[in-house]
């Protein structure tokens, strides 16, 4: 489903490669944790999948299509097929929980009726049904991240990219977020999680790709966090 074909990324001339000769295949429905120190190239890998940056060498495929050859319209379709969650949540402070999630659906052109039906449903899934009218500043960090996850999955994407989603959370909230990601994966969504949180990776118990200085140094089907 996702295939990195011998990918190298150098941000500017003379810089060491952020990602170097990475070849990686991810099947539909997989839950892949990409681990490594800061600067190991985890986020660069995700950004290339999202077409935010292009590889310097090699190619990234989503399905049959090479991402860098997609037209503007196809790129929008790609982005709608991929949900993203970030370490800093990126919620809109002036909108309440309902509006934050509805915004993503509005942009995707969903009808008002669909939005009214889908938002409570997805909030149920992340366990925040009772906070639907709260504003982000009224929520804890863990709750804000759950809203961000709800926003990422409400459009029913094929893939969920979670870039350090537990980076700003305490262990209990981090555990809750991982449990939600696992539940989403159980429902059929492919999940790519980058983290350097050992307990998070160990609790997932699925495939672990370990990166170091831009290279994949370990790829285990049921891995642990080992650096």
């Amino acid at each position: 489903m996702i295939y990195y074909d011998n990918v190298t990324k150098i941000y500017y001339d003379g810089a060491p490669p952020a990602v170097s000769d990475v070849t990686l295949n991810i099947e539909p429905g997989e839950f892949v944790s990409i681990v490594g120190h800061s600067g190991a190239g985890k986020t660069t890998l995700l950004k290339m999948l999202f077409a935010e940056i292009s590889p310097t060498q090699g190619a990234v495929f989503f399905g049959e299509r090479e991402i860098q050859t997609l037209s503007g319209k196809e790129l929008l379709q790609l982005r709608r097929a991929i949900g993203t969650v970030f370490q800093d949540f990126r919620l809109l402070p002036t909108k309440n929980v309902y509006e934050n999630i509805a915004f993503a659906l509005e942009v995707a052109g969903k009808s008002d009726e669909d939005i009214q039906a889908d938002v409570p449903h997805v909030l149920d899934l992340v366990g925040l049904a009772e906070k639907i009218w709260s504003f982000p500043h009224e929520l804890s960090g863990g709750e804000q991240q759950r809203v961000a996850i709800a926003r990422a999955i409400v459009g029913q994407p094929d893939v969920l990219l979670a870039d350090e989603p537990t980076g700003n959370l305490d262990p209990i909230n981090a555990h809750d977020v991982v449990e939600i990601l696992k539940r989403i994966n159980d429902l059929g969504t492919t999940v790519l999680l980058t983290t350097h949180n050992k307990s998070v990776v160990d609790s997932v118990g699925r495939r672990v790709v370990t990166m170091d200085q831009g290279r994949v140094v370990r790829d285990e089907a049921q891995g642990k966090y080992v650096l």
């Binding site: 379709q77 982005r79 990126r90 809109l92 993503a104 942009v107 995707a108 052109g109």
Partner: protein, 307 residues
């Protein structure tokens, strides 16, 4: 995807952004209002000056004054000669009695003149011929012709030929009109560029304010015009509001200057002109406002909204 639904949402985001940037928007609206107001003044001034010119042009003629002793035969000969000229449109004969009646009517309130006239007893005025040319530029030729015939044959009956005064006034007014039009256009152009720059910067600020929304829109795969559209809508709103303000202000303003303008210009009433040509004002002002707003927003969005 439902196009109408998207248009509605883009318009709503534009409106929300416009309200959120209220104070910054005010600057853009203010400068645009001034610009549109100047555009409206240009329309009015152009029409007023043209009307004055038309009135004056209409009043231009060559008048041939005959001596009181001139015979009807001499006058007829001159009239026939003039009518035969290709430049002449009409000739109107004014008899001595008509000239006297017109003189009396003109000086009805002037006791001294009327008394002097009465003391003369006889009609001191001669008959006259009013000559109209087909084109104002041809009066010089006609006047020259009359000067040539003066003093020989039936021309001896001619007392004076009146032509020069009006012509000088007309050419001066034409010059004033051309200069004021050029000056007005230059001012309008200068203001339009200022408007463009201020609105451009306003939209730039609005883009900065909305950077979080824009980021999320990009992440969730919003189309290019879904992200850009609201800023164009905001620019168009500046134009609409400014245009509305100008049209609303123009009504009482032209009303209060209506009578004064008529007294000043003669036939031109600024209020009558505004109401009679309301559609012209409506379309010109809104077209300029919306055009300026949309263009500035488009330029700002292209420059600052990288996707």
């Amino acid at each position: 995807m439902n196009l109408w639904l998207n248009i509605k949402r883009v318009a709503r985001y534009g409106l929300v952004g416009f309200i959120r940037n209220g104070f910054v928007s005010l600057a853009a609206i203010l400068i645009m209002t001034i610009t549109l107001f100047v555009v409206a003044l240009l329309l009015i001034a152009g029409a007023a000056l043209s009307s004055v010119l038309a009135t004056l042009t209409d009043q231009v003629d060559v008048t041939v004054y005959f001596t009181p002793a001139a015979t009807m035969d001499q006058i007829n000969q001159i009239q026939q000669q003039l009518s035969a000229l290709p430049q002449v449109a009409t000739t109107t004969y004014i008899s001595r009695d008509q000239a006297l009646a017109a003189f009396q009517a003109r000086h009805a309130g002037d006791q001294l003149t009327m008394q002097a006239l009465q003391e003369l007893g006889d009609n001191p005025l001669g008959a006259a011929l009013e000559v109209r040319a087909k084109d104002t530029s041809q009066y010089a030729t006609i006047a020259k012709y009359l000067e040539n015939v003066q003093g020989a044959g039936p021309g001896t009956a001619i007392d004076t030929v009146n032509y020069q005064q009006n012509q000088a006034a007309i050419s001066r007014l034409s010059n004033i009109i051309n200069t004021s039009r050029a000056l007005g256009l230059a001012i309008a152009l200068f203001l339009a560029v200022s408007t463009l720059l201020i609105t451009f910067n306003t939209i730039r600020l609005a883009i900065y304010t909305a950077r979080d929304e824009i980021g999320i829109m990009n992440v969730v795969g919003a189309g290019r015009w879904y992200v850009r559209g609201p800023f164009i809508v905001a620019g168009v709103l500046y134009g609409l509001i400014s245009g509305l303000v100008v049209l609303i202000v123009l009504y009482p303003l032209t009303l209060s200057f209506g009578a004064g303008s008529q007294a000043f210009f003669g036939t031109f009433n600024v209020f009558t002109y505004f109401t009679a040509n309301f559609l012209l004002f409506f379309f010109t002002i809104f077209a300029c406002g919306i055009g300026l707003g949309a263009l500035s927003s488009y330029l700002a969005v292209r420059r600052y909204l990288k996707m």
